[in-house]
Amino acid sequence: MAPGDGFSFQFRARGLAGARGARWLFEGLDLDLAPGDCLVITGSNGTGKTTLLRILAGLLAAEEGRVEWQPEPPGEMVRLHYLGHHNSVKGALTVGANLGFWRRLAGGSDAAAMARATALFGLDDLLDLPARVLSAGQKRRLALARLVAVPAPLWLLDEPTTALDTASGEAFAAAVAAHRAQGGMAVIATHRDLGFEATHRLRMGVTE
């Protein structure tokens, strides 16, 4: 699959149950995502939004249930981006070096995607600066730039717009739109209005 071809993967979860430590958070959760879908997850703190995202990312084992891709993506391909509360930014490296590391890790060398990412999030003038001098908003933009610089079919985002100003929020919305137009899928947990429409909504913490 060459870059720019778009993605045609479906992502499914069946009967997911999640817990945090000794607390049971949710059970019987089913998800069906098709190319272009965007699921927005809302709910107060402690209802399991982060736990669900981490389970979908494969970072946390579900108590029950399973997650599957249709079709199964090849092993060397980057399947998903998980963006949590941390930015994964190394302060001692330059902005450009951070992005470079993420690209090398993914095994890709899609220079066009990289250029798009830095342009979209306004990082072009910051590339040579060590990341530690960036503000919180700039660091978040750098973290978001990774999503565009390394193409992947599924984005799992936990409060992605924290610390972002309006302009950057719009850049983020544009990034999501472009991603979905390419057949990508997104699952976003947020308190805020993201400025675009979701295809599905899930409210955590409500007993059926």
Partner: protein, 260 residues
């Protein structure tokens, strides 16, 4: 999209993520059934073993009465090894098949095994004093047992080092298996080290040639120790399960109190 959050009126089952532990009914029933049998085997063996080893068995030509310590020391060393094997096997089952009781078994077995290790070391030291004149002898077996003790201590420390018991369980399991792989290597290195540094005559604390009259008490004590180990293991596992159930109930109560 469908999902449901469990209601807080069922604390013992779905309200707690430890539902896997909340009703380990089969294990509890089994252990309750097995316990009296274990006791019935252990107690007589212990009494008979002690009688035979401390009273009736022959004294060694050179070591005289002090050889009797062997009957306490040698089975303790065996149990130290057995305890670690139990730990390692439980860890493997926990990592591969993710059976929740496996991790628990490892956690419960560790202090018992460590206890036997300490007994082995203490009795080894007591045996060494009249025989070799010093409280400690750097022979291959005692040194390996000391290292084994530290492997136990490390494993137990890992369990206490994390907020979440599941995380602790997995970390401890990995280390237990790495330790198990390392144990033969450690034993081999310590033996090697010993032959390099010790004159050949003091290569191990003299285990006298096993005479059939000595075999009986040794085996009796070994069986008694094994029974004791298993008994303590079952008791500790039950206590641990009860503690977790209490925690789960407390958590459910606090959630009910929050109102949702």
């Amino acid at each position: 999209m469908t999902a449901s959050t469990p209601s807080s009126e069922q604390p013992a089952v779905r309200g707690s993520a430890l539902h896997r532990f909340a009703n380990p009914a089969r294990f509890l029933r089994l252990s309750r059934a097995v316990q009296p049998w274990l006791l019935a085997i252990t107690l007589p063996c212990l009494i008979a073993g002690l009688y035979f080893s401390l009273v009736k068995s022959p004294i060694d030509y050179q070591q005289k009465d002090t050889v009797r310590i062997m009957y306490v020391h040698v089975p303790a060393a065996w149990m130290a090894m057995f305890g670690y094997s139990t730990l390692a096997i439980a860890s493997a089952i926990g990592l591969i098949w993710k059976h929740p009781l496996a991790d628990l078994a490892g956690k419960a077995a560790a202090p018992i095994g460590a206890g036997f290790t300490v007994i082995a070391l203490a009795t080894g030291s007591l045996w060494g004093k009249p025989t070799w004149g010093t409280w400690w002898v750097w022979d291959a077996r005692l040194t390996s047992v000391v290292v084994l003790l530290f492997l136990y201590l490390g494993y137990m420390a890992l369990w206490n080092a994390f907020e979440q018991p599941q995380r602790a369980a997995k970390a401890a399991a990995v280390l237990a298996l790495v330790g198990a792989v390392n144990l033969p290597i450690i034993k081999f290195s310590v033996d090697w080290w010993n032959t390099l540094h010790q004159p050949a005559s003091i290569s191990r604390i003299g285990t006298p040639a096993i005479d059939p009259a000595m075999l009986t008490p040794l085996l009796l004590m070994a069986v008694a120790y094994l029974g004791l180990f298993l008994l303590l293991l079952l008791v500790r596992m039950r206590v641990e399960l009860a503690e977790r159930r209490v925690m789960a109930l407390q958590l459910a109560r606090s959630r009910a109190g929050e109102g949702r």
